[in-house]
Amino acid sequence: MRVNYNWLTEWVDIDLEPYDLADMLDHLGIEVEELDITANDAIFTLEITPNRPDLISVQGLAREIAAKTDKKLKKVIDYQIPEEHAQNKEFALAVTTESKEDCARYIASIIHEIEIRPSPPIISERLEKCGIRSINNIIDITNYVLLEVGHPLHAFDYNKIGKEIIVRRAKNGETIKTLEGEEKELTNLDIVIADNKKPIAIAGVIGGEESGVSETSRTIVLESAYFNPTLVRYTSKRLKLSTESSYRFERKADIGMLKNASAYAIYLLKEYANGKLVGKVIDTNPSPYIHKEVSFSYEKVNRLLGKDVKKEEVDRIFNKLSLQKRGNDNHPKILIPSFRRDIEIMEDLAEEIGRFIGYDNIEATFGYRSENPISLEGKEILAVKKIMPSLGFYEAMNIPFIECSWAEIQDKNPIELKNPLWSDKSILRTTLLPSLISSIKRNLNSGEERVAIFEVGRIFTLDDGEEEMIAATLAGEIPPNWYEEKHPIDFYDLKGIVVTLLEKLNIQEYKFSGCKDSLFKEERALSLLINTETIGCFGLLSQDVCKVDIYGVEFNLQKLLSGSTKRIKFGGTYRYPPVKRDLSIVIDEGKPYEDFKNAIKDAVVNDVQIELIDIYKNSSVGKNKKSLTFRLELYHPEKTLTDEEIEEDMENVIKKLSKLGAHLRK
């Protein structure tokens, strides 16, 4: 809400400059969002917490400032509704409230012979400063009272409504055209003010257009009422209509303020619109139950605050806040004024004490007295994250909403948002890849040559719920350098990264197999299996929209980690130097390298490391043939191998390879 400094000083003497007042308000928990200092005034924009409806008014703020600065309020709204008004049979009106739950009290006054004209500057200027547009003296006066004492009022044109006011639930399907000119359909969860024919206002939210005050109005009905906060809130939400009035009602307006607000408005209407009260003021509940007591304990509150606040200090604070102590000091009860509906339990009173002594005066302590029974989670996830940068990847983070077309491609059942922020991104991500693809493209477009990013996060499906995933994407080219030519990133760059990740995670038992995931290009992708369970896929992404080649990988993190051997086995270091032998073979072009590598491994009796050091295709090799060159490192843990032992292994290898259709390259 907005409020100006000068209006506040009409209520309480303020010895503080606007900036210092703002600081004091901050320290009371009334956050000053903005302070706008003008020539001879200052405007405060305040963020009032939802528990303090009393502070959404000049009166409430002045009360708080007075309490903090030990001042008395200069102004008191204590107008009486004049008793000696003219009795005039002409102005009949009856008020019925169907339910006290919905409307605890309704005060209606008829004011006659009003003169509609612009408001005097004292009213219009203050309204403008507080962010309300000045319309005419009648509407402005209801708003002025709202701002000053915090209670919403409404004015009907007496001649446009029937002579009966009924506060009731709307019938399902009933409609009303609001002051803003919009037709609203109502349900039986909305409270309406109706005459004998139809609704004339949506209770606590907005008036109807037809029954509203206009240039031609001569007689008005002034409403001062208390409506059920929950229902007002519900209606305001459902109709997407948040008004100054609904804002205050849904936060529990002060039911003790109704009569004063009425009387004050009647006084102002006489003063500035020449209006005369006629007929009898109707009040459906002249003495509502507003009495509330809260049990209190000095000792418990001190324990909660962690500070020894003296009894006299507490009493002094209570006194300033109009909180009256009843009963003896061992079991006191605190009587809560009607404008402080937020105080319901002792802890609320503890907060009041804390606020007024100042949190700065509670000395910070640290130390625990009990052991903690809960164990630590989530260490593994961070361990995985930490490996990725060393493989050249930057960590990305994305908002987990994606287009539903992705789920269709994946044939997954997505979880749909009821109120998406972006209408095209209406599902929770079923894969981390789409957002990473977008990020890759943005980076390539902005001139990056090689982009490698990864993300760890959850995906969501109806079938499997929430799953923690790791995904990475890689695209572009290795840029040219003085020591190497540029070359595009390809499948083997990614495969090397995947294998290194598996190694770093200490995952030894795994298999690669064909990839059936529709996000990937089958001919350039593999799936990873651990214990026959598919962990995920990696390879070239198949999205036609990618336009550029993007390589991606996505693994289920928990399943991946399930393959990690926790204990590191140390196998000794070989003291005897290995013997290196290169071996070139010629095979059919379509045959996979791995078959031959495995054959070599099987054939060798001794320990062996096998590296593929060359692939060669040329007419000299033969049509549809290729040549592979392997480098074998043969070794034995306990001795240096003899020439004979090496030759024996090599012979076995050649025999085995020729069975697979390979022959030695000349």
Partner: protein
């Protein structure tokens, strides 16, 4: 040649050798099989019997001495052996190394502070029910405080958690207090994606329940946290606030690091910046969980907000745009 003359010449030649090859020639000349010294040694037969042992000792001593000098000179020469010129100003061959996300770096830093203070880390689902996200946290459906957290709902009626506090309820269901937990994770609120808001964000919440935990303990815990994260000299302040799940409630403000408290546009001339919300767990919550005899405190840290203050970042969207030019700047080795 006389022995002393030989000694003088040999030492001079060793000294003057400029490369290993030249030194080797010197060695062969004086100490090789056909060298001067051997020749002199062989001439021992010409001497009278009684002079021979002494002469032998002198020659051998010289031989050893020269060998030592040559060896020493050789080492010195090898050290200064010149290599062909290379342009050392050429750039080095660099491996590709990435970075963790700034939010992960800060996350880990924060988590470690609380682990040191004896907290445990607990995770929970991002998809939640009304009950865990609101009702159990003293925020029934008609509560105006719900406006503070505009919620994403799912078509099946569940919702995306607006805070990680549901984890606190889930933990209290499984474990009786006393306990100290940190529940980190992603949360969601219907907010426009702008410099100060994001529909998804990271939160780190803390809960400490024990007998007679007080606001003084809360302030003490968060004081340690802010000093570790923002520096020992950080000035902090607690101001009253409101949350439906805490009573009393407070906001932690730190002195504006941009103007050192003088007042600037970042802090809207306040000289301090709102950093996180906290308070004493609302007694209704502990009562509903069956622990009315306990008290506790809770706090919620918005990771993006802390990162923006700590790294002086003015646009929250940068955390979610994955621009390498941004991500490259976060080399934190503190992990």
């Amino acid at each position: 040649m006389k022995l002393n003359e030989l000694e003088k010449n040999a030492k001079k030649e060793i000294e003057q050798s400029v490369c290993v090859d030249e030194l080797e020639k010197v060695r062969i000349r004086y100490l090789g099989r056909k060298c001067e010294l051997t020749r002199i040694l062989h001439s021992i037969g010409d001497l009278p019997m009684e002079e021979r042992p002494k002469f032998g000792r002198v020659v051998n001593k010289l031989k050893n001495e020269l060998e030592g000098l040559i060896e020493k000179k050789k080492r010195a020469l090898e050290k200064s052996k010149t290599l062909p010129w290379a342009d050392l100003s050429l750039p080095g061959r660099r491996p590709f190394i990435g970075n963790l996300h700034p939010l992960t770096i800060l996350y880990q830093e924060i988590i470690n502070v609380f682990i040191e203070m004896g907290f445990s880390i607990v995770f929970g689902p991002e998809i939640e029910t009304e009950y865990y996200n609101f009702t159990a946290l003293n925020t029934p459906p008609d509560h105006p405080a719900r406006d503070m957290q505009d919620t994403f709902y799912l078509k099946d009626g569940r919702l995306l958690r607006t805070q990680t506090s549901p984890v606190q309820i889930r933990t209290l269901e499984k474990h009786a207090p006393p306990l100290r937990i940190i529940s980190p994770g992603r949360c969601y609120r219907v907010d426009t994606f702008d410099p100060l808001h994001s529909p998804a964000f990271m939160q780190i919440e803390g809960l400490w329940v024990d007998r007679d935990v007080s606001m003084a303990d809360l302030f003490g815990t968060l004081k340690i946290f802010t000093r570790k994260i923002f520096g020992e000299e950080t000035i902090i302040e607690f101001l009253p606030s409101y949350f439906p799940f805490t009573e009393p409630s407070a906001d932690l403000w730190i002195q504006c690091p941009f103007c050192r408290g003088i007042g600037c546009t970042v802090c809207k001339k306040k000289g301090r910046i709102e950093t996180l919300g906290c308070g004493m767990v609302h007694p209704n919550i502990l009562k509903n969980m069956g622990y009315p005899e306990f008290t506790g405190f809770a706090f919620g840290i918005g990771l993006e907000r802390i990162a923006m203050i700590k790294y002086n970042i003015n646009d929250m969207r940068l955390f979610y745009q994955n621009d390498l030019k941004f991500l490259r700047q976060f080399n934190e080795s503190k992990l």
